[in-house]
């Protein structure tokens, strides 16, 4: 592989196939923890680290893991890395641990991680998988930061906990609540759709593809539902 294609594996996660805004993966933590920049950065980086490690491990073991039990194996590996990160964050960044709460443990069920394991790491070599994990992880962090910046500046009049001159007097506290999470995320996706003129590979029916268990049921659930 040339240097160029390695770079494109890394870069595609950042913008072209951004996991949150284009692939529509990992919506739950995006909405829940984008209320301020501190939380977004913490959760984004934790997820990125888990994603890089799990992609590398899964890629390294892709020839050993039997195909039929691959999903439980992946979940076990991912859960191991999440536990590792959880303990490290608890030990060294206690404030972040308190603020993210159960969301660090919930990285296990983040669709992005299982999705990338299934779509990329199980088919590619270790270096490519690491680059893919880094790109996707930073893409996730970037998207979270965008949403969090809008919500924190307009919703609390602050940025990274510091008061801003104009916004601290005029802000809209509702954006800090769940309402703001749904609203800003929806508007962001609309903007992405507008900018790409609908060319981005938006999953129109992401009911199945967007869910981490889609691979467990191989889309059968969707077909059966449509029959009904």
């Amino acid at each position: 592989m040339t240097q160029n294609s390695k770079m494109s594996i890394f870069l595609k996660g950042l913008i072209k196939e951004n996991p949150v805004l284009v692939l529509m993966l990992g919506t739950c933590p995006t909405i829940a923890k984008s209320n301020n920049v501190f939380n977004a950065l913490g959760l984004g980086l934790c997820t990125a680290i888990v994603l890089i490690l799990s992609n590398m491990a899964i890629s390294a073991m892709r020839k050993i893991i039997p195909d039929k039990v691959r999903i439980p194996c992946y979940i076990l590996l991912i859960a191991g890395f999440v536990t590792l990160i959880q303990m490290l964050v608890h030990a060294y960044f206690d404030e972040m641990y308190e603020r993210l709460g159960s969301f660090i443990a919930l990285i296990v069920v983040n669709c992005i991680i299982l999705g990338r394991a299934e779509m990329f790491a199980s088919k590619n070599n270790i270096v490519d998988s690491m680059l893919d994990g880094a790109g996707m992880g930073l893409g996730f962090t970037g998207a979270l930061l965008c949403i969090a910046t809008i919500r924190e500046v307009l919703g609390a009049g602050q940025f990274f906990g510091y008061d801003l001159p104009f916004f601290s007097t005029y802000h809209f506290p509702l954006l800090q609540k769940t309402f703001g999470g749904f609203l800003v995320f929806g508007i962001m996706i609309a903007i992405v759709t507008k900018l790409t003129a609908g060319k981005a590979p938006l999953k129109k029916d992401f009911a199945c593809q967007g869910c981490p268990s889609a691979h467990l049921c191989h889309g059968e659930c969707k077909e059966e539902k449509e029959v009904k």
């Binding site: 529509m24 919506t27 739950c28 909405i31 829940a32 439980p72 979940i75 076990l76 859960a79 191991g80 999440v82 536990t83 959880q86 303990m87 159960s102 443990a105 919930l106 296990v108 069920v109 983040n110 669709c111 299982l114 609540k177 769940t178 309402f179 703001g180 999470g181 749904f182 609203l183 995320f185 929806g186 508007i187 996706i189 609309a190 903007i191 759709t193 507008k194 609908g198 938006l202 129109k204 992401f206 009911a207 199945c208 967007g210 869910c211 981490p212 268990s213 889609a214 467990l216 049921c217 059968e220 659930c221 059966e224 539902k225 009904k228």
Partner: protein, 191 residues
């Protein structure tokens, strides 16, 4: 007994999984197109949540805590929940085909639903007793069901609307609608 009902009420309305904790968004947005599907998914979530708590609470209390290996909580819970749901699905398919026909298709979808894992984890971190944990899980599931059913109604109106701007069609307008629906649950949060 009063505590028990308080916990259920709080789990359904105040800490609603979808509209106030924003967990389980994938099925909430994905399977809420039709009322029947939304209700089926919601009932399956109630079932799995109660079952997951009924299994993970004893594991935490009688296995992980005495052996002082609480740090294995995440790994143990996710594996137990995933295995349990698969097991229930197989048993249901064999012995209760009619129930499997209506609920079974949703079961694999929620094995790794974040709301289910969070309910199992939060019962432990809140220090609930077994009965209270079951109440919390049941309430959480019912809250999810309520949100799904309410939103399926809203969504049927959106999908028929022709006046939505092109870039908002599909997911963005659904999210904006979810934002407005979540406002209705904020009334329970005000003190």
């Amino acid at each position: 007994m009063r505590d028990f009902f308080m916990i259920i009420f709080a789990a359904v309305f105040v800490n609603n999984y979808v509209l106030s904790k924003t967990l389980g968004i994938c099925p909430f947005l994905g399977v809420s197109k039709k009322f029947n599907q939304a209700a089926g998914m919601g009932i399956a979530v109630v079932f799995v949540m109660v079952l997951a708590t009924a299994v993970t609470w004893p594991i935490q209390t009688y296995v992980l805590a005495p052996l002082e290996i609480e740090y294995l909580q995440t790994i143990a819970f996710i594996l137990v929940i995933a295995a349990l749901v698969q097991f229930v699905e197989i048993v249901m398919k064999r012995h209760l085909p009619s129930l499997h026909g209506s609920l079974g298709v949703y079961l694999p979808l929620i094995t790794t639903n974040c709301a289910v894992l969070d309910s199992a984890l939060s019962n432990i971190s809140e220090g609930y007793s077994f009965l209270h944990s079951i109440g919390n899980a049941f309430g959480g599931g019912v809250g999810f069901l309520l949100a799904m059913v309410l939103f399926a109604g809203v969504r049927s109106k959106i999908d028929q609307n022709e006046n939505i701007p092109a870039s908002f069609k599909g997911l963005p307008i659904t999210l904006v609608a979810a934002a407005i629906v979540s406002l209705s649950f904020m009334a329970f949060m005000l003190k």
